[in-house]
Symmetry: C2
Subunit: 367 residues, 2 copies
């Protein structure tokens, strides 16, 4: 069953070592829109990295906001950021996100909310946004989420964890500089890289994929294998390939969907605030009955790299916690439909989902 | 040596069997621009295919132009088409190209020339176009050239065979329907498919590639191998994969360049009016000293599929003809720079180029 989709691409893409140094030049033609200033939202990991901060092309009148992404972005954060800037300064010419998937999502969502009234809560879903946002540019400093190319900005709201999803969400510009991901801490590098591995697996194994999605999934998986099984991380190709794997993994979802792992991961994220990429790893580790050899391959990468995947979490969970997570996961029908086909309700109920969560009790490999 | 490029993507892409049936819906929001009519430029191969013509979403006031592509598109053709439509009808809302690489290039070039004054001759080159063109949409009916994603519209002018190349050349929309390429005659299917094979080889072997280009080249080459060595053409995946291979092969040039084969092919095209894709095959067949195992693989495909690559052409060429072609090829420094590096003039002169053309005398395999 193929999907009919007419997907919007990122307007302009600049890839290559050193391209962060071109950001000033890239932004220049876009600086004169609206009230003529740029907003940079930057992962606060960089706040004390003076050498990095110096490289942000902040001109007079621009604003740099360092933002903590310990918690994933909330609708409240977006509304507050938008209201604050609009009130103090007016409408920016554009917004530039410098960071990981959370920062990408903050930049995308805020760009839209600058021009769409009310709270972002009311726009969580597909095509609910009414007007194009302001110019928005993404500069990833960690690779794997695919947020740099996706048409969604995932937000945690009071009720739902769900994206603002429409053509206007897609970035006007992305700057993919492999130099920027060189200093990512090792665990984070792996967990986030596994996001593209896992959603490429989900994309290629479900019912809604087509040949376009398969091609991107296959290439992204092949590059993940090189990065996480063959190359040393210090190899010049390692970061370069990971950045392309993330980009292609993101594009694999253009004509497919995520599946069981992301549904479980959303439950872990919404109820326990476990970060998306590590939540994916925790869940994928237990999904051999669904993803078979891919889970074996994942475990092989974990072992090869001696990375720690948290184990035994479920022993601290009450039945209420497990039920709450199962409820979040169950209410993602498009993921189940993709994973198991339109009759998914015949093979899946809340009990099966709870069973997967309970498995997160078991120990497999750890450091 | 990496290139700094900030490349513009096709704005919207619709891929999948049956997507041609969505063209009406896709064009709808764009019909009200300018003087409110759509122009369809269609390969005249389809003129007597009533079932196909019926499916073109021509509304009242629209124009359908069937165009012969026996000759590759000239600046004169573009200027004449533009002048005729502007004079009779005014400025179209958009232009839709339905056909192969030549028709894609006609649609892209004419879209630009509707809004840029004077002859298209004066815009042959990089970034010479002054204003964005009108809305333009490409619907390939044969796969391999990558013209559906490229930022160039190659035109043969009185002096140069050279593209109108700028961000605005890139399509606003492409519709990639594998059903449309099912009826392509076998030889044409192979020659055109080899365009993506050959430029992927050129992209991956030269000096200007980066990891992004390599990823696209590698995947495009892998898909070509499946289509031309493993799958039967009647296999449902064959056309689907070829269409993605063409798309990805086109994108492999985003961060690389074509090389020796395309330079020689341009000479054959400009001087002898040999069509681009077959000219590539004629040249590539003799380039084992440059492209080694890839040429062996190409010959293997030719043999496996029992396709005819014209041989012995050079025995009818005068020295003047060979010199004229060598002159055209020599004057493509960006291709030589990519193929042999910045000191290419140390390893290449007009005599070496003439030598390659003279080799086109020799017989290798043929039906």
């Amino acid at each position: 069953m193929n999907l009919f989709r007419n997907f919007k691409s990122v307007t302009k893409t600049c890839y290559g070592r050193g391209s962060f140094g071109k950001l000033d030049e890239i932004l220049q033609p876009h600086r004169f829109q609206n009230d003529g200033f740029m907003v940079f939202v930057v992962d606060d990991y960089f706040e004390d990295k003076a050498d990095f901060v110096k490289r942000i092309p902040e001109l007079e009148g621009d604003e740099v906001h360092f933002i903590s992404v310990l918690k994933e972005p909330t609708t409240e954060l977006i509304d507050r950021l938008r209201d604050d800037i609009l009130k103090r300064r007016g409408l920016p010419a554009g917004i530039v996100g410098i960071g990981g998937g959370s920062v990408m999502d903050i930049a995308k969502a805020t760009a839209l909310m600058f021009t769409n009234e009310g709270s972002s809560v009311q726009y969580q879903g597909l095509n609910l946004i009414k007007k194009p946002g302001i110019y928005h540019c993404g500069v990833p400093t960690i690779s794997g989420t695919g947020a740099e190319v996706s048409m969604t900005a995932v937000l945690t709201g009071p009720v739902k964890k769900l994206g603002l999803k429409c053509d206007w969400t897609v970035f006007d510009q992305i700057v993919l500089d492999p130099d920027l991901i060189a200093s990512v801490p090792r665990d984070q590098w792996f967990y986030t890289g596994m996001d593209t591995y896992i959603h490429s697996v989900e994309a290629i194994t479900g019912t809604k994929k087509n040949t376009f999605a398969e091609a991107y999934s296959e290439k992204s998986l092949a590059m993940c294998r090189e990065v996480f099984l063959k190359l040393d991380r210090s190899d010049v190709k390692s970061d370069e390939k990971l950045m392309v794997a993330s980009y292609m993994g993101g594009l694999s979802l253009t004509y497919s969907e995520v599946g069981v792992c992301h549904a479980l991961s959303y439950g872990l994220g919404k109820v326990l605030e476990i970060h998306h990429c590590i939540a994916n790893c925790i869940a994928f580790d237990k999904l051999e009955d669904v993803y078979g050899d891919y889970v074996q391959e994942f475990k092989g990468m974990v072992k090869h790299l001696k990375v720690n995947i948290p184990q035994g979490l479920a022993k601290d969970w009450s039945e209420e916690t497990i039920s709450a997570m199962a409820e979040v996961a169950y209410n993602l029908p498009h993921m189940w439909d993709h994973a198991f086909g339109p009759d998914w309700q015949k093979v899946l109920d809340r009990e099966r989902i709870k069973g997967w969560y309970r498995r997160m009790f078991g120990l497999t490999w750890r450091n």
